[in-house]
């Protein structure tokens, strides 16, 4: 294209603007926009306002999980237990709500609050164990979170006997999934709050600064006097708590405590973060990357659903995209 247009031609200007945009924001926003337009050409229903809201809502859940994963990735680790933690939080929260309702029928608000508290508590506990094992005992994060994956799965299955926890209060779904504030769905608001918190931690707190340095060079962080063990452990705690928030929102959406809720979400959360541009080498990644990645994965999967791509094939495609994204990230740093 450049060969056809003389250097001084006006045609160069949009191209230059495009290059500048890519340099500033990466290629992903453009790819997401193109994907959105492309799916709409194949299936016009994709461009309905309803679907736009749907995509936004769907990507909210994933953005929260990806933001959690971002903290683990930043410190040179990752969290494989994310998916099964979601199942555990969903089942445990659901059972607590039923228990409270059984004791005092009608106390819906109390039941929902108790469920949320237990769910967040489970997330916190998981995060602390993960964090202590990685930061204090210096066990490889892969092994720690893989073990935790098994533990969470075991608890979720045992607590629920493998069956979904039905009859959760309507109020849960009504407030945390269907409701909106001035037209913005509650999950989207929740996501904005979580992402905002992540942004403030990473960009304005000593903890966040420390995480970047730890991820970039753990030994330098120690030599510079940072309390690197505490900060490293905190990354896993924040990750798990965010995931618990996401799990409660997902539970509200399905309206039942699901022992299989988190099945594919570990891959999706890592996929979203990595596709979004978070480096697997640690020390590099921003909150906006989690947002980009979540939008990308959601647009892709909603789009594939609408043009009726088989679910299993979707998994294959997502897997390929993740590997490709990591490869592209390596190319990017090599050419820097």
């Amino acid at each position: 294209m450049t060969a056809l247009t003389p250097p001084e031609a006006l045609g160069r200007r949009p191209l230059k603007a495009l290059v500048q945009f890519v340099v500033l924001y990466g290629a992903l926003p453009i790819i997401i926009a193109l994907m959105y337009l492309g799916f709409g050409l194949i299936e016009p229903a994709f461009h309905s306002g309803e679907n736009a809201i749907n995509i936004l809502k769907q990507s909210s859940y994933l953005a929260i999980l990806a933001a959690g994963q971002l903290f683990a990735l930043l410190t040179r680790g990752f969290d494989l237990s994310v998916g099964q933690l979601i199942s555990l939080v969903s089942v445990a929260g659901g059972l607590v709500m039923l228990d409270v309702l059984e004791g005092s029928p009608g106390a819906v608000a109390l039941a929902v609050f108790a469920g949320i508290a237990v769910g967040l508590g489970a997330g916190l506990a998981t995060g602390v164990v993960n964090g202590v094992c990685v930061a204090v005992f210096r066990i490889n994060p892969f092994v720690v979170t893989l073990g935790m994956l098994g533990i969470c799965m075991g608890f979720a299955t045992t607590l629920s006997d493998g069956f979904p926890v039905f009859n959760l209060p309507e109020g849960l779904t009504n407030t945390l999934s269907r409701a909106d504030v001035i037209g913005i769905p509650v999950p989207v608001i929740a996501a904005l709050l979580v992402l905002g918190t992540a942004y403030v931690i990473l960009n304005h707190s000593v903890l966040g600064r420390s995480m970047y340095v730890i991820g970039s060079n753990p030994r330098a962080a120690h030599t510079a006097g940072l309390r690197s063990r505490l900060h490293l452990a905190s990354a896993y705690v924040i990750c798990s708590v965010f995931v618990a928030v996401g799990a409660l929102l997902l539970t509200a959406r399905t309206g039942s405590g699901e022992p299989n809720l988190g099945g594919g979400l570990m891959l999706q959360s890592i996929a979203a973060a990595v596709i979004g541009g978070v480096s697997l080498r640690g020390g590099e990644g921003k909150v906006i990357h989690a947002v980009y990645g979540a939008l990308f994965v959601t647009v892709l999967s909603v789009g594939m659903n609408l043009i009726r791509v088989d679910g299993t094939i979707q998994q294959i495609i997502l897997g390929i995209v993740v590997v490709a994204a990591v490869y592209l990230d390596q190319l990017r740093t090599r050419f820097r």
Binding site: R209, Y212, A220, H222, T223, G225
Partner: protein, 523 residues
């Protein structure tokens, strides 16, 4: 490569003597012109030294010769043939053998396996281990390197890895040998071996490109010296009759009256007092020393004598088993980096890449990182970003970091500027005791003088400075008192006029001046 043997040696001089000729070499990287119209040549049997500050273009030039990346402009002739589109593989086949500072060794393989990496000898697909081991032994013996072929490279000291790298380069048919700062991690003895080797290779007609910052080395091994500055060739001079000041002037573009500033001693109260310290790992045993306000205390000794561990133990990076440590008159039972910084002690590690800096993070974050517990930079554990920016900008300008952009990531900076970013940490908070481990390793002469002046500035302000260094001239010229270490112990203490290179060297191999090996090592 039969062309070499065709050349008419009897005819002697002229075109045939030139092994490598590069003309008008230009290389651009995004945002910088790394090399600008540079001419460079190497004759057979000659050592041509490339001299210049970090970022002057030395590395770019040798990388082009090694085929790491192509030049944008200019021509290159090697061994009488015009060379285009050179790849690292082709350059090795042509007899060009580079030894870079970043090693190309596989840490989990043995010395011997590394030597034959990529050119294993095999018969019917089975490795001829015996044959390779014999050959490896021969090569290592030939070089006089004290290396076990079966040793795992990852477990070797840096100096030994350097020797492995050199041996590896010599295993092939060699016409042009490239050495990038080869002596940075070698001891005196190993350096002498290397120089003997260079002499031998010269005799065999091998051309050598020798990249170095060290002026005394240049005189010892160099035939010609080409000085680069900011990607341009400043000039080529004969190594034998060039003045040191002239070289520094060419390199920096400004006059340097004295390399080492005269720093007056104003020893005050003891800021750091260490008594009978031994570490758990046994690398330090029964060490006692003190550093007073307003003085520079040097620590000298061979690689591995425990001088680095001295600072590491004080700063809480190595655990000590017994001993007492007082900082500003207060007992510290369990030093940690966090706690020592709070007490006003800062450690500057020798290996800035491995331990000092978060390379992918910006200058600002690397400079402020040791002061994030102070109200100057934070409030309620949140960073006051504007204050941070202002303070770091001021410090970066004071230290003359180039470029003075605080948002640039540190991996884009040269060695000297990286060190300045490290030094900035000492100015972000009230540091009273500075522990420097090899503060000028891998940085150019221009930056060195700036570091020396920085040390002088610190002592003038009443700071206590511990200067651990393998560069003897540095210790001898700057320190007011010198401790010499050997095998984890302090074996000598010199003061004032006693501090001479001979006196320090004499203690390198054990106690006192009567050690029998001392004379041999000095010579």
């Amino acid at each position: 490569m039969s062309e070499t043997h065709r050349d008419d040696r009897a005819a002697g001089a002229g075109q045939d003597e030139l092994l490598l000729a590069m003309a008008g070499i230009t290389k651009r990287f995004p945002g910088v012109v790394a090399l600008d119209d540079v001419d460079f040549d190497v004759r057979r049997g000659e050592v041509h030294v490339l001299f210049g500050e970090n970022g002057a273009g030395k590395s770019t030039l040798i990388n082009i010769v090694a085929g790491t990346y192509p030049q944008d402009d200019g021509t290159m002739t090697f061994d009488g043939r015009r060379i285009t589109h050179l790849t690292p593989h082709q350059s090795r086949l042509a007899g060009i053998s580079p030894v870079f500072q970043e090693f190309s060794l596989a840490p989990d393989l043995t010395v011997e396996e590394n030597l034959f990496l990529g050119r294993e000898q095999a018969r019917w697909g089975v490795l001829r281990k015996g044959a390779m081991r014999t050959r490896a032994r021969e090569v290592l013996h030939d070089l006089g390197f004290d290396l076990r072929p079966g040793a795992r490279v990852g477990q070797l000291m840096r100096a030994q890895q350097q020797m492995t790298e050199i041996a590896k380069a010599l295993l092939q048919d060699l016409k042009l040998f490239i050495l990038d700062e080869p002596t940075a991690s070698l001891t005196e003895r190993e350096t002498n071996r290397l120089f003997a080797l260079i002499e031998r290779l010269k005799g065999e007609g091998v051309g050598i490109i020798y990249v170095s910052h060290r002026i005394n080395e240049i005189r010892r091994v160099g035939d010609r010296v080409t000085v680069l500055r900011d990607g341009k060739k400043i000039g080529t001079v004969q190594a034998s009759n060039v003045e040191e000041t002239k070289l520094v002037e060419m390199m920096t573009g400004r006059r340097i009256d004295a390399l080492f500033p005269d720093i007056a001693a104003m020893a005050g109260d003891a800021m750091l007092d260490v008594r009978n310290l031994s570490t758990v790992d046994g690398r330090l045993s029964d060490v006692s020393f003190e550093v007073r306000a307003g003085e520079i205390v040097g620590v000298a000794g061979l690689v591995g004598c425990g001088k680095s561990e001295l600072a590491r133990a004080v700063f809480g990076l190595d655990k000590f088993s017994v001993g007492e440590l007082d900082v500003l008159g207060e007992r510290v039972a369990h030093p940690t980096p966090t706690g020592m910084l709070k007490r006003g002690v800062c450690y500057f590690p020798s290996d800035r890449v491995a331990e000092g800096l978060a390379l992918s993070r910006p200058v600002r974050e690397n400079a402020s990182v040791a002061a994030l517990d102070l109200a100057d930079f934070t409030r309620w554990r949140f960073i006051r970003r504007r204050q941070e920016r202002t303070a770091i900008k001021r410090i970066v300008e004071e230290l003359r970091v180039r470029p003075p952009q605080i948002e640039r990531s540190v991996d884009h900076l040269s060695g000297g500027n990286r060190q300045k970013v490290m030094l900035a940490r000492g100015l972000t908070r009230d540091i009273r005791v500075f522990l420097f481990d090899e503060p000028t390793v891998g940085i150019d002469v221009g930056a060195k003088t700036e570091v020396y002046q920085f040390l002088g500035e610190l002592t003038k302000r009443g700071a206590a400075v511990l200067l651990i260094s393998s560069e003897l001239p540095e210790v001898v010229n700057l320190a007011h008192r010198v401790y010499v270490m050997h095998e984890g112990r302090i074996v000598n203490h010199l003061e004032g006029n006693e501090i001479t290179e001979e006196a320090v060297l004499a203690s390198f191999f054990g106690t006192g001046a009567d050690a029998p090996s001392a004379g041999a090592a000095a010579g």
